[in-house]
């Protein structure tokens, strides 16, 4: 059936006239209807507008104006503003919010001709690593519905893994694309900071947030990234740099590729099963002609503490606009202004969001700013310098995406520190603004394991090439959970 195909294969079928966009869209909408009750991966399903867009896409194709993504159904993480459609960011605060405008990513995807099936579930305001903080309930992992899908782009990862959509968009502030991609056995890419516009993507931590594709293969990600990337005059932090054709270098041989293995990514805290799978993947690369080089990223241990100062500090300010005055949740019968603020925010935000706003407010307070925020910025620079030095010696860095496979729902909800540590290998990449990917590399006790690949700034082509070559040799990315075949 269609859903066993990758996005690239579907694109070829559309081009060949073997299927229409309407047929594909109907098929995936049906799958969502049949299976999403088990997963809870969607917050909003936009069946009607999807079918309309699909019919339009078929027209465009008839006129001979189709591109590779014309008529391909996808889902958007519910962090992207979509005009006229509920945009919740996984929060009660925005349960009533309908955006009057489209995010740049949404607009660009629309221009490329994709059909939006709906909006995917996520941790509230992208704060979480398990998708348990969503106001719309936990998302389940299709490989084991008792387990979490990872987060914060858990709905996107789960829906792609269960083939309820060929692909989805995600965002990654500290690992929110790569960690759920790993835990659900799909391919996800976080681009270089500034490669994809943040306009219309509800901000969590502005200096770290970056949108990227989540799909079945590197080739699919390349097609999606082609459409998403590029300078946006509406985002001052987006970079005015040419966007290469990301599919162009997929087939470059890996002979002589230098892969760095940071010893800090294979130390204490890494589960045995994940370690084995990742090591085996590295062996595969060796067999393809790559050279393996042991490296050190000595400030790795600082990444989580630095992140949990910088990200909450920025979020405490970014989330101030949710005050019950202009949009979003407003408490009933406020007594006065202070009551309006306190109750609207108290009722609208969940526990994890409140925790981070409090931490961030504290870190920016008079008397603490230098000790926390300024210090964190200095350490951030050191973490970034580690990578700069490493890339003088190697082309890409590899390691696990997550220290372990998907844990059970509820297992870590009362232990924020242990939850925060599940992003220990991904967070430094955001702090340094680098592009990173997670690629399915096998299973440990029947649960997927992700291989993380990190490249230098703006070297997404290299990342995709390295991942694609591996996927030509392996089938891990083609595995579909039994119940969703």
């Amino acid at each position: 059936m269609y859903h066993t195909k990758t996005l690239s294969e579907l694109s070829a079928m559309l081009e060949a006239g073997d299927v229409t966009s309407v047929q594909l869209t109907e098929h995936y909408l049906q799958r969502i209807k049949d299976h999403d009750a088990q997963l809870n991966s969607f917050i909003t399903i936009t069946a009607e507008s999807a079918l309309k867009a699909a019919a339009q896409a078929d027209e465009v194709r008839k006129e001979g104006n189709a591109g590779p993504l014309t008529g391909i159904p996808i889902a958007h993480k519910d962090i992207f503003c979509t005009k006229g459609v509920k945009t919740t960011c996984g929060s009660k605060m925005l349960d009533n919010f309908e955006s009057p405008y489209d995010a740049t990513v949404v607009e660009k995807m629309q221009q490329a001709g994709v059909v939006m099936l709906g909006k995917t579930n996520m941790d509230e305001f992208a704060m979480g690593s398990s998708n348990e903080t969503s106001f719309y309930g936990a998302v389940k992992n299709p490989w084991n519905t008792k387990a979490v899908p990872g987060g914060s782009s858990g709905g996107s990862a789960s829906s792609v893994a269960a083939r309820l959509t060929p692909a989805s968009t995600g965002t990654d502030t500290g690992g929110s694309i790569r960690q759920p991609a790993a835990l659900c056995g799909i391919t996800g890419l976080k681009p270089t900071y500034g490669r994809v516009s943040r306009y219309g993507m509800i901000a969590f931590a502005s200096s770290l947030d970056q949108a990227g594709p989540m799909a079945q293969s590197a080739e699919d990600c390349a097609l999606l990234l082609n459409a998403m990337s590029g300078f946006d005059p509406k985002d001052s932090t987006s970079l005015e740099q040419d966007v290469p054709n990301y599919t162009a270098e997929l087939n470059k041989p890996l002979d002589g590729l230098k892969i760095g293995l940071p010893k800090e990514y294979f130390g204490e805290g890494l589960s045995e099963g994940t370690n084995e799978v990742v090591k085996k993947a590295i062996e595969e690369y060796k067999a393809m002609g790559a050279e393996i080089i042991d490296i050190s990223l000595p400030n790795t241990h600082l990444a989580v503490p630095v992140y949990y100062v910088v990200a909450p500090a920025e979020c405490s300010s970014n989330l101030s606009r949710f005050d019950g005055v202009r949009f979003g949740h407003r408490c009933e019968d406020p007594k006065d202004l202070e009551d309006l603020y306190k109750r609207s925010r108290g009722e609208g935000f969940g526990e994890e969001v409140k925790r981070r706003i409090l931490v961030g407010t504290y870190a920016l307070s008079a008397g603490y700013y230098d000790a926390y925020y300024i210090k964190a910025q200095q350490l951030r620079r050191m973490i970034s310098d580690d990578f700069t030095k490493a890339f003088e010696k190697v082309d890409v860095i590899m390691g696990p995406s997550s220290p372990e496979t998907a844990f059970n729902i509820g297992e870590k909800s009362d232990d924020p520190i242990s939850m925060y540590l599940s992003d220990i290998y991904t967070i430094a990449v955001n702090l340094a603004g680098l592009p990173g990917m997670s690629v399915p590399a096998g299973f440990s006790e029947k649960m997927p394991v992700g291989l993380q690949i990190i490249a230098n700034h703006f070297d997404e082509s290299r990342l995709l090439n390295v991942a694609h070559q591996y996927q030509l040799k392996t089938d891990w990315h083609k595995a579909i959970p039994e119940e969703f075949k």
């Binding site: 955006s99 405008y101 509800i202 500090a313 920025e314 101030s320 920016l364």
Partner: protein, 476 residues
């Protein structure tokens, strides 16, 4: 005890950009509430600011014009606090690294003494919206049209020692920003307003006293009043054995009092940090040079030129250059080849007096520069006398047309025909036998009487110089 007042001002000048500092919405004043606020101004989820290059250019102009350091690397920071008319819950401003650093400006006091006032810094920031407390039945209306309007906050050193000095400094900055065309200076619309930091100390003491900040004063008159009132209050507090507390106070023009808004303890912790949505503003020498070339002639340069090229007195030149609009008007008048001194006298005299009386600014003057020049030419070519010119000016003010039209219509043309003047002189002499006898017997003073009678009989139109010469001959 003798007290000394110490004043520093924070002036907020609204920059004359077409669009807002971080969005493309219009900055025009007076539109229906919330019609000039786009998604960015409303602080909708997901929106991002993009800095308006024109605001950077205007701030740079100010820095260059005051000889201040224009910082090549400045950073926007977020000032965090909750208020309903502050949509994002933070104001984008500049904190540690403002765009304009130290500089200074010279002021002249009424007694002619000059003084240099230090400028600590000037930084860019966005304005908030407006809370409307009336007409909403116990609720508050929010108008976000003003939200995101660019402001340049100009912070002075505590260099002023009296309310008069503060006003002189504020006027000087007011004039400068208009010269630079970076602010319309409209105080009634709030485009130019200030906060005053005021403290007192015993004369001779080095340390500053505890200061109070007077908020949002929007006229020169109120600045002077509010400061004087606050100085009196502080001296009273200290002389009664109390201590001035550091606080923010509001000047109430209607009640003529200042009252406490919040004390230092109640002050917000604004949690400033660099705005991660905006890159640092980086300016290079080429840019500064390019902006420098666009600077207009500044007031001091213009005044010096009026003295050297037009032979005006320093005093007149100072008055004519006090505002760009006045100077522009004056230059428009003399561009029609009118004598500069004559034009200056009229501008400083009759024109200014009439504008003051009618509470109008020079830009709203009903008599155009061209019409005024036309009239001055008629004085120069003896068509009318200076005295008759006042009637012509009145006519032009009332919209009766240009000078020639008014002269023609009202028959104000000067009589220069010798025989006509002679006839009038003869008539006067014939009607004044007593005065003639007295004059001829040596009462020279009566000459003035004859001149007056001739002028009166000619309805002021006889050329005074001719009347003088001819009378002297007749009365020999």
């Amino acid at each position: 005890m003798e007290w000394e007042t110490v004043i520093g001002l924070e002036i907020h000048a609204q920059l004359r950009t077409k669009s807002k500092i971080f969005s493309s919405a219009s900055t025009a004043f007076g539109a229906e509430p919330n019609t000039q606020a786009c998604a960015v101004d409303l602080g909708l989820p997901g929106v991002l600011p993009v800095v308006n290059a024109e605001a950077i250019r205007m701030a740079t102009k100010f820095g260059l014009a005051t000889g201040s350091e224009v910082c090549k690397h400045s950073v926007f920071a977020r000032k965090n606090y909750f208020y309903p008319d502050l949509p994002k819950g933070y104001q984008i401003s500049q904190m540690e690294l403002p765009i304009v650093g130290e500089g200074s400006i010279d002021i002249e006091l009424e007694d002619g003494i000059k003084k240099t006032i230090g400028i600590t810094r000037a930084h860019l920031e966005e304005d908030a919206g407006k809370s409307l407390h009336e007409d909403y039945h116990g609720m508050t209306g929010i108008d976000l049209n003003r939200a995101g309007t660019p402001l340049l906050e100009i912070v002075s050193e505590p260099d002023m020692r009296s309310a008069k000095e503060a006003v002189a400094y504020m006027r000087k900055i007011h004039s400068l920003v208009q010269y630079l065309e970076i602010c319309d200076g409209n105080m009634a619309e709030g485009s130019f307003r200030c906060d005053a930091n005021v403290s007192v100390r015993p004369k001779g003491q080095k340390e500053y006293g505890t200061r109070a900040e007077l908020k949002n004063i929007n006229s020169f008159r109120f600045v002077e009043r509010a400061i004087n009132l606050e100085v009196e209050r502080q001296i009273d507090v200290i002389e009664d054995g109390g201590d001035v507390v550091q606080e923010t106070r509001l000047y109430d023009a209607d009640k003529h009092e200042t009252r406490s808004m919040r004390s230092k303890e109640e002050a917000n912790d604004y949690r400033y940090f660099p705005d991660p949505d905006l890159l640092p503003v980086v300016l290079d020498d080429a840019y500064l040079e390019e902006v420098r070339k666009t600077l207009p002639e500044l007031p001091a340069e213009k005044a010096a030129r009026f003295v050297s090229e037009l032979s005006l007195s320093e005093y007149d030149a100072g008055i004519l250059t006090a505002s760009r609009d006045l100077a522009d008007f004056f230059e428009a008048v003399i561009s029609e080849s009118v004598d500069a001194k004559l034009a200056a006298n009229w501008m400083i005299g009759d024109v200014s007096a009439r504008l003051n009386k009618e509470d109008l600014s020079i830009t709203n003057c009903p008599v155009s520069a061209a019409h005024l020049a036309g009239m001055l030419k008629r004085i120069e070519d003896n068509t009318i006398s200076g005295k008759i010119a006042k009637d012509v000016f009145n006519g032009m003010w009332n919209g009766e047309g240009d000078a020639d039209t008014v002269i023609e219509k009202k028959g104000l043309k000067q009589i220069t025909d010798d025989s006509a003047i002679e006839a009038i002189i003869d008539e006067v002499i014939a009607n004044s036998p007593n005065q003639l006898e007295q004059y001829l017997s040596g009462k020279d003073k009566l000459f003035g009487y004859f001149v007056g009678q001739v002028m009166k009989l000619s309805q002021g139109k006889a050329n005074p110089a001719q009347v003088n010469t001819m009378l002297k001959n007749k009365l020999k």
